[in-house]
């Protein structure tokens, strides 16, 4: 048996972090949370999470950045916004989750070959290059970068999609690709 300690020293917290996050769009009301748990109660995925959304909010608020960023929760969040419309304090929890995903990706704080950030990254690059995504290419690249075996499981689905004419093998590309790139290249303002 493995007996890890669960207590936290205050020095492990990064108390400035939540105050920085509070400046970001959608995260303003972070500190208004009353820990009622309605977000977790309404979240269709909370039952699979290591920390429920409520606990994530509290981890963030208390500055336990490591725990929040390396949680499975943020990747299980499907961005369905159920929590956001239920929260009695009008906290945009979905935006907080997005913010955590961004920070985790930026600092590579997710398990290796973890499919979600891989998918997000592939998708990101594809759209950047071509202006549109193609589900077929996406799935292929995702599989190659995370776990090629998942392709096996998809054979049947793939067969049906081809049969019903729903799988487009064409890789789409918009005419205004250069225009789009110019737009995306516009630098952000410094915070």
């Amino acid at each position: 048996m493995d007996f890890g300690r669960t207590m936290k020293y205050q020095r492990e917290a990064e108390p400035d972090w939540p105050h920085q996050l509070k400046q970001l769009p959608g995260c303003e009301r972070l500190f208004s949370c009353i820990q009622c748990g309605k977000c977790s109660g309404t979240c269709p995925l909370s039952i699979y999470m290591d920390y429920t959304p409520r606990r994530i909010i509290n981890l963030v608020r208390e500055g336990f950045r490591n725990e929040a960023l390396s949680s499975k929760t943020i990747w299980l969040c499907a961005s369905c916004y159920a929590c956001a419309v239920h929260c009695p304090q009008d906290i945009h929890i979905t935006d907080v989750m997005y913010m955590l995903k961004r920070e985790a990706i930026q600092h590579q704080m997710y398990p290796k070959r973890f499919p979600i950030p891989v998918l997000a990254r592939e998708f990101y690059d594809l759209v950047r290059k071509r202006g549109r995504s193609s589900e077929f290419w996406l799935v292929l690249r995702l599989a190659m970068k995370s776990n090629p075996l998942i392709l096996l499981g998809m054979v049947r689905t793939g067969f049906w999609l081809i049969r019903t004419g729903r799988l487009s093998l064409r890789s789409e590309r918009i005419r205004g690709v250069h225009q789009l790139r110019r737009e995306l290249a516009t630098p952000k303002e410094a915070q």
């Binding site: 977790s40 979240c43 429920t52 409520r54 304090q89």
Partner: protein
């Protein structure tokens, strides 16, 4: 040359922390006409006031300025000190360097400069002050109490006991309010009827109280000491003096069975078109509901009720609405609250799933005199084996009401206890925070816990039907950090307390204020909790904010005392800041007349000039600004005084 005394208050750290008070006093001493300038820790204290009095004597001062907090707090204090020192009380000017300066600025040097500017302005203006006298008007000894819940009942009885005449106006057919609907009351679990009914009958029996049910206030005119109030009496279709409350008419009604939704039982029971709201109703009179009575609908009823009433002859289908005007000296508002309508939160399924109830409905179910005779049964007659209680329904939520309704945690504990006692069901109280801050409340919580009620800390997110006909409450147990699905047979929604839908109309009529949530606003949250900003109008009970019965009764007693004190004083003093018309200059254009919010202006018929009734004038200044010929002046706000003040503030060195 004036001889002015100036006093700059530290207010502990409040002012002195931001403003260099010594610097301001030194600067003031240099201004022309200033004879004495001091700073002091707490000017409002006795030694502070003595400073003023002694200086008037020792330095022959003739004008006083205090630079301190808001005039709404201590202007009266310093005017008194000025008067006690031997000057006219209005030879005084107050400068607000706390709320208007120290509290709103952080730059100390700039705040100090601002204080100097404000003090200088006062020096310029105070020289022009004229001696003024307060007027006294007699006060009428009657009190109007609006709303006959426990607050109104208690206030009326207290006043009556002190020998005052009371009019108690209630819009429902009986007094009692919400409390009459409860079975037991937390935290002591005494029976609501046992403690309330004696007070209700005492109201009816007391010769000092005139009780009007089915009545509403429709118009209020006048001012403290003398309000003219118009009351509308709705027809009961029963002659009060002839009805003995025997209920034979109800028995005899052509409807053999009660068929119509019964308001007192919040729709869980049925009544006939002629009915008594509940057996202990006060007054003990029946009433006829014209919406459901056949005689009113078709005019062709057999009127078996009239036959049954026989020689008592108390039924009168021809009664009409009636207006009546009374004169009172002061008014207590005790209009109570409404419970939150849970239809507004669709995911709790109220009105969709029959076994979702409001707490008020469950109060009726556990009540021995309720629609089920005190049996807690579901709409299909089953006894619930598991019951979920959802706290904070409509409270503590940005989408509904942001405030905590304060009594629902406690009444949820009470209902948990009562339902368990009646059914032995397993109970789940789902709460966000358990709020039990009253005397013996925590002990009550512990007791309910020991009785085996389950407490789940989390706000219920969803209520949905399970396959087998029961309901599932989905909630995160935040103490465990996991989501639970709790199957129950009955869901009780602990609905919050809200201001009445018509609270805004009522507050306009009585010329008081409402906060954004709709509850009436007290003059000061700590020091004047039953007063309003309108003199002579007091608040009691839940119309001022959610509270429990002990607090309601305490507040009602306090409001009664305030009203009684006013009456016993015998007169009210009116501030002299009234406006008056210079008849020579008035052109008789009548511009001012409709502007006055207090209807204090009329036109003198003989000379065709405007005339301001000093007693009605509140000194708001509207007419002064509106008069095209500038012929209205207002005491203490004369043009020269204001212009000098402006000159003063702008005359920086």
């Amino acid at each position: 040359m004036a001889r002015i005394g100036i006093y700059v208050c530290h207010c502990g750290h409040n002012i002195a922390g931001t403003i260099d008070v010594k610097g301001v006093a030194n600067y003031a001493a240099s201004l022309p006409g200033v004879a004495v300038a001091r700073d002091y820790k707490y000017m409002c204290s006795d030694p502070g006031q003595d400073l003023i009095k002694n200086d008037i004597r020792d330095h022959q001062l003739d004008r006083i300025i205090v630079a301190a907090c808001s005039p709404s707090l201590h202007e009266a204090t310093f005017r008194n000190a000025t008067a006690q020192g031997g000057l006219n009380a209005y030879y005084f000017q107050m400068v607000n360097v706390r709320e208007h300066d120290a509290w709103v600025h952080s730059d100390k040097a700039a705040a100090t400069e601002k204080a100097k500017d404000l003090v200088r302005a006062a020096v310029y203006r105070v020289k022009l002050h004229k001696p003024l006298e307060r007027r006294r008007v007699p006060i009428r000894p009657e009190v109007l109490v609006v709303g006959g819940g426990i607050a109104g009942i208690h206030a009326s009885l207290s006043l009556a006991a002190a020998g005052k005449q009371v009019y108690l106006v209630e819009r429902e057919p009986t007094i009692g309010g919400h409390m009459a609907q409860f079975d037991k009351t937390f935290p002591t679990l005494d029976c609501a009827a046992c403690i309330l009914t004696p007070k209700m009958t005492a109201v009816r029996a007391n010769p000092n109280i005139t009780l009007w049910t089915l009545s509403e206030v429709v118009k209020v005119e006048g001012f403290v000491g003398s309000y003219q109030v118009t009351v509308r009496h709705k027809p009961r279709y029963i002659i009060d003096d002839l009805c003995v409350g025997c209920l034979e008419c109800v028995e005899a009604c052509v409807f053999k069975e009660p068929r119509f939704s019964d308001e007192f039982n919040v729709g869980l029971g049925k009544r006939k078109p002629v009915y008594m709201p509940f057996p202990q109703a006060v007054p003990q009179l029946v009433l006829i509901d014209p919406e459901t009575c056949i005689e009113f609908k078709t005019g062709k009823c057999k009127k078996t009720c009239v036959e049954a009433c026989a020689e008592r002859n108390a039924i009168d289908f021809t009664q009409k609405e009636r207006l009546e005007t009374i004169e009172v000296g002061s008014i207590i508002l005790s209009t109570g609250f409404e419970v939150f309508d849970p239809h507004r939160i669709p995911y709790y399924g109220y009105g969709v799933y029959p076994n979702v109830y409001t707490a008020l409905e469950v109060e009726r179910l556990v009540n021995a005199a309720g629609p089920t005779g005190g049996e807690v049964v579901l709409r299909d007659g089953r006894k619930p084996k598991r019951v979920g209680i959802v706290h904070c329904v409509g409270s503590r939520d940005e989408h509904t009401n942001r405030y905590c309704s304060r009594v629902c945690c406690m009444y949820s504990l009470k209902l948990a206890h009562l339902v368990k006692e009646h059914t032995d069901a397993e109970i789940f109280n789902c709460y966000i925070d358990m709020r039990t801050p009253g005397k013996t409340f925590e002990e009550f919580y512990n007791r309910v816990g020991e009785e085996g009620v389950n407490f789940v800390r989390g706000k219920v997110a969803d209520v949905y039907p399970d396959g087998d006909g029961s309901l599932v409450m989905q909630v995160e147990d935040t103490l465990l950090g996991i989501v639970r699905k709790i199957p129950v047979d009955m869901v009780v929604l602990a609905v919050g307390l809200e201001a009445h839908r018509d609270a805004d109309a009522v507050r306009r009529m009585f010329n008081i204020t409402c906060a954004s949530e709709g509850f009436f606003v007290e003059r000061h949250p700590k020091l004047a909790p039953v007063n309003t900003f309108t003199d002579g109008i007091f608040l009691a009970g839940c119309c001022q904010g959610p509270k429990d019965i002990p607090d309601t009764v305490a507040q009602a007693g306090a409001a009664a005392m305030e009203a009684a004190a006013l009456i016993d004083k015998g007169y009210v003093e009116l501030e002299p800041m009234t406006a008056s018309v210079n008849e020579e200059e008035c052109s008789g254009c009548k511009t001012c007349i409709p502007m006055c919010p207090y209807s204090a202006i009329s036109q003198k018929a003989d000379v065709k000039k405007a005339f301001i009734n000093e007693v009605l004038c509140k000194g708001c200044g509207t007419c002064v600004a509106a008069c095209p010929s500038g012929s209205i002046k207002q005491n203490l706000f004369e043009d020269e005084e204001i212009f000098e003040e402006i000159e003063g503030v702008l005359a920086y060195a």
